[in-house]
């Protein structure tokens, strides 16, 4: 039986789709079978970020409406042996799906694949409720900004109300800005949201370039963001025991010890 993980954030534009794409590719690189579901009905994007937009025939709404099987709608990624995408519909709206539909679909996929990653739409309405319905756990993506963290906190509350275990990915951290006192550190974000951190992805222009090309950054080589996405993937599947690195040091080591982790080395 596979595991379903929803990638969510509340706020739009913080990197949910990029995170889903890269974690999916990185987990597939580790040899596990992975299906990515784009749950953003009407505003699909995971297909273009993955570079699979020209191969869509069927989508998730077709599957739910019984127009085709899930297997038929899945697009196989040709770069990786064991990665598939189930795209969203671009013409329907969020009401085309229900939480029950998603629970059933995700359950069915989990029977065949090791990991099902669900790319959640922004917001906390119907699309969010659909996306989290079948999830065993959640990754909340937040950038170190007041608006992103505020929205993330709302989402964390909603996930807790559904008893969905939740961990945090801080995205687009700049060590230099943190050092200058112009950006919240990952330790600040952890303290405020009171979540376990599973990744701290640096601000990295390579991610923009790989998105332009429709190639997951983790397939492109060794950019700083790609390396961290690969580490997060290992943590998710339980292959990485090294703690999440820190951008500013000091305070985090103490927090790490308090949480029972070994002290992080300053990056």
């Amino acid at each position: 039986m596979g595991r379903a993980i929803v990638i969510t954030s509340g706020k739009g534009g913080v990197g949910k789709t990029t995170t889903t794409c890269n974690l999916g590719a990185a987990i597939a690189q580790l040899g596990m079978t992975v299906v990515l579901i784009d749950a953003d009905i009407g505003l699909r994007n995971l297909d273009v970020v993955m570079g699979l937009e020209n191969r869509i025939v069927y989508h998730v709404v077709d599957v739910v409406q019984g127009k085709c099987t899930a297997q038929k709608a899945l697009i196989k990624d040709r770069r990786l042996e064991n990665l598939w995408l189930l795209p969203a519909s671009q013409t329907d709206d969020k009401d085309a799906l229900t939480p029950d539909d998603m629970r059933k679909l995700v359950g069915e996929l989990k029977a065949t694949y090791d990991y099902v990653l669900i790319d959640c739409p922004a917001g906390i309405e119907q699309g969010f409720k659909n996306a989290i319905a079948g999830a065993d756990e959640a990754l909340v993506v937040a950038t170190p900004e007041v608006s992103s963290i505020r929205d993330a906190d709302r989402v964390v509350g909603l996930l807790a109300a559904q008893d969905i275990p939740t961990r945090l990915i801080v995205n687009r951290i700049s060590a230099q800005m943190v050092k200058k006192g112009d950006m919240l550190s990952q330790a600040d974000v952890i303290e405020i949201l009171a979540l376990e951190l599973v990744g701290a992805v640096p601000l990295d222009e390579h991610v923009v370039a790989s998105t332009n090309k429709g190639t997951p950054a983790v397939l492109e080589g060794k950019s700083a963001a790609a390396r961290e996405f690969a580490r997060v993937a290992k943590r998710l599947v339980g292959q990485e025991t090294e703690p999440v690195g820190e951008t500013s040091g000091g305070w985090f080591s103490r927090l790490g010890r308090a949480l029972g982790l070994s002290p992080a080395s300053a990056a």
């Binding site: 900004e145 007041v146 963290i149 505020r150 906190d153 709302r154 964390v156 509350g157 807790a160 943190v178 200058k180 006192g181 112009d182 950006m183 919240l184 550190s185 600040d188 405020i192 009171a194």
Partner: protein
């Protein structure tokens, strides 16, 4: 205490402070204005029992980890002999 080294807080510290306050209100589902209304009403209730300075009553929402706490404080006058 007077501190000759005191400088303006960094934008990082400002962001942290603002987030703590905003999240405390968000988590409690209580707007800042409503909180002040509540302060006035609580102060009025206390003053029915003890003569207090209504303006000195303070109300705060604090949040630590995911627990949120409402704190009301009021100085009580020492009874004159």
């Amino acid at each position: 205490m007077w501190n000759m080294f005191r400088t303006k807080p960094s934008s990082r510290e400002v962001a942290k402070g603002r987030l703590h306050l905003v999240l405390a209100h968000d988590r409690a589902g209580l707007e800042g204005g409503k909180l002040q209304e509540m302060r006035h009403e609580i102060a009025a209730v206390i003053s029915r029992y003890v003569p207090i300075d209504i303006e000195a009553v303070e109300i705060q929402i604090e949040t630590r980890s995911r627990a949120t706490e409402l704190r009301v404080s009021s100085p009580l006058p020492i009874r004159g002999g």
